[in-house]
Amino acid sequence: MKKYKIFIFSLLIIFSLNLSAKDYKASLFGVKSDGTTLNTGSIQYAIDYISENGGGRLVFYVGRYLTGSFYLKPNVTVQLEEGAVLVGFHSVYDYFEVNGTKALILADTVENIGITGKGVIEGNGHAVLKSIEEQIGKGYLDAGQLPAKPALINFNACSNVTLDEIILRDACGDVQVYSRCKKVKINNITVESTSLPDSKGIVISGCNGFTLSDSYFETSGTELSSNNTSKDVSVSGAVNSKGKKIKAAK
């Protein structure tokens, strides 16, 4: 009887631990909110650390956090509180790519990842483009790189992806790219990316289970672009700046 009780008790503890993913404040890892410190290294270290220690949320409070590309790892959610802005660094060399597409936030073959909260991800599109053009002009960068302008988000072969509430702004390339992902849930986000031409809101291909709901799009390119290779795509309550309902463009 006693053993049985202990067993249930431990089960409960394990269960509750899993339910309440741990929160880590960004400053614990030396991430700085001043808008001038490049935080890439600390943010990546934080995400790796959280993932290796059972997962949780990396929480950014009010401030501007300058960063280059980083990778999300299993069971890590980036939580951007209201007033927190992740700002993309201007230099093209601070962006990595997955599947041929550069992005500020990357994820490759991982599960249970998310970006949530009322904060902002700002791509700094003009400055990044200027850096690309400059480097091509000087001959350091292949001219073929120009079409591969960094997106804000590029997730490849990930499952259980959540985007909730965030504001995505001013991408250099497309805003979000999801390839061969499973169970992607995007709800209540705001996408504003008009300062450079043909910045698409969302590009999906080969996904299985994609839900977009209650979101606002103001983009220079198509709001939602799907090449017909995705299954189980559902869109509801998403509008563009002219008040038009958004459907998956084919």
Partner: protein, 489 residues
């Protein structure tokens, strides 16, 4: 008899002038090398000068590293051109267990001053990170509000209950918290100072708290939090007889602000011939959210460029036990303001937070509470230029009764012009106010607006004279709701 007293005062003046002794910092072993920590030797110098009846402590060119020093009565610090008082980056060099820890601290000291063309550099960012590091190591206990230390970040200057205070000529840079605070001081003169502080959160440029007889002139204040700020922390005190002239303010919060904490209140203010630019929130914000009384405020000749909002007047009720405050007899005249479509403080360190979205460009606002009107407000010779171009798909607030009644009162919220998110007007939104005068007010929207220029809700008595509205299309000018005695001439 009169002659006698004049002669006597003249003699007294000469006496104090002649006998105010000069001391050079070097005689106390204070080093100007920028690496020697001088805290104890500077304190020794201050104590000795104070005990010997007062005098000037002269710092000549050099960098003087120090932790907290406490100024005493009759001690005058002169930072000559090229002299820099440099704050230590070690948090343990400050009086962190005293409330309001500061680099230069004074309590109950009379006749004190910091003058000259020198600099006080708080090195606040490094100080704050030194403190944060100790918090993360568990050595200092702090709950980290918004992921930054809530307590123990040193201010630049904190003077409490001091009389006859003068600050002039100096530049104050980069503190870890508020740059300078004068709390319950009397006869305070601040002239020709420069504040350049974008080092960390809560870098208010200048806080005058419950002070009497204040003259602030010819100063330039650029700070990441509120630039020129009046506060009232004590319900039994208030800020009284304050004059601000010929100042320039830049902020990633508000330019000239009354509040936030307003327990006692503000009375008899003249704020004349000032400029606000590149400021994220309001150029002029007058708020009583904590029971304070605000009376007789004159804002005259204010030029505002690239600033998020021109005017914000607000009664709130954050802490019920203090009751609700009042705001009466506010005159704002000769104001020109340009509001941009883009973020006014973009590119400055510690930009103001993006919040209260979605909303289109917010109007100026005068907002009391039900049963607590803002009374007797005169707006004269005012021109505000807005970008216009609101998008009602992005954010919408109409003028139907359900829309207007749907705007929450939000009495307990931290007051901010953006707090209601989308408001139903683009020029002015007025709610719960009594006896208003709008005279020669010009409102311009450059692009088309879906909202009226002005919305009055629960306004009891207003006279609008010589109004001018410029906007493309055929929008409404003034929309009245639940309002009485609105006279348009």
């Amino acid at each position: 008899m009169k002659l006698k007293s004049i002669i006597l005062s003249l003699a007294l003046l000469c006496f104090t002038g002649v006998f105010a002794k000069d001391y050079n910092a070097s005689i106390f072993g204070i080093k100007s090398n920028g690496t020697t920590l001088n805290t104890t030797s500077i304190q020794k110098a201050i104590d000795l000068i104070h005990e010997e009846g007062g005098g000037h402590l002269n710092f000549y060119v050099g960098r003087y590293l120090t932790g907290t020093i406490e100024l005493k009565s009759d001690v005058h610090i002169i930072l000559h051109e090229g002299a820099i008082l440099v704050g230590s980056t070690n948090i343990y060099d400050y009086n962190i267990e005293t409330p309001n820890t500061a680099l230069v601290y004074a309590k109950n000291a009379d006749n004190i001053s910091i003058t000259g063309l020198g600099v006080i550099d708080g090195q606040g960012r490094d100080v704050a990170y030194s403190l944060l590091d100790q918090v993360h190591k568990g050595i200092i206990n702090d709950q980290l509000k918004y992921d930054r230390p809530a307590n123990r970040r040193p201010k630049g200057i904190y003077f409490r209950e001091c009389r006859n205070v003068e600050i002039s000529g100096i530049t104050i840079k980069n503190t870890a918290e508020w740059v300078q605070v004068y709390d319950q001081c009397e006869n305070l003169k601040i002239d020709k100072i420069t504040v350049d502080s974008k080092a960390f959160w809560n870098n208010d440029g200048l806080d005058i708290v419950d002070c009497k007889d204040v003259l602030l002139t010819n100063s330039f204040i650029d700070s990441s939090d509120d630039a020129i700020c009046f506060k009232s922390h004590d319900a039994t005190k208030m800020c009284e007889n304050v004059e601000v002239r010929n100042c320039v303010a830049r902020s990633s919060a508000s330019g000239i602000k009354f509040g936030t904490v307003t327990r006692g209140g503000y009375k008899n203010f003249k704020i004349i011939n000032n400029k606000v630019y590149d400021t994220y929130r309001s150029a002029i914000a007058i708020q009583t959210p904590d029971g304070g009384v605000i009376e007789n405020i004159l804002i005259d000749s204010l030029n505002v460029y690239n600033t998020g909002n021109a005017i914000f007047l607000r009664i709130g009720e954050r802490w019920a036990k203090n009751g609700v405050g009042s705001m009466n007899n506010i005159t704002i005249q000769n104001v020109y303001a340009e509001i941009p479509a883009t973020k006014p403080d973009a590119g400055y360190p510690y930009e103001g937070p993006i919040e209260d979205l979605p909303r289109n460009i917010s109007p100026a606002s005068i907002v009391g509470l039900p049963g607590h009107d803002i009374t007797n407000v005169t707006l004269r010779n005012i021109e505000i230029v807005y970008p216009g171009g609101s998008n009602k798909t992005y954010a919408y607030r109409g003028i139907k009764p359900a829309d207007l009644d749907g705007i929450p009162e939000m009495p307990d919220r931290y007051p901010e012009y953006s707090q209601w998110k989308e408001l139903p007007a683009w020029g002015f939104y007025v709610r719960h106010a009594k006896n208003l005068t709008f005279e020669n007010v010009t409102l311009t929207a450059k692009e088309k607006e879906y909202r009226p220029a002005i919305v009055f809700d629960d306004v009891k008595g207003a006279t609008l004279k010589d109004m001018e509205y410029n906007f493309p299309g055929s929008g409404k000018k003034l929309f009245k709701y639940k309002s009485t005695e609105i006279i348009q001439k």
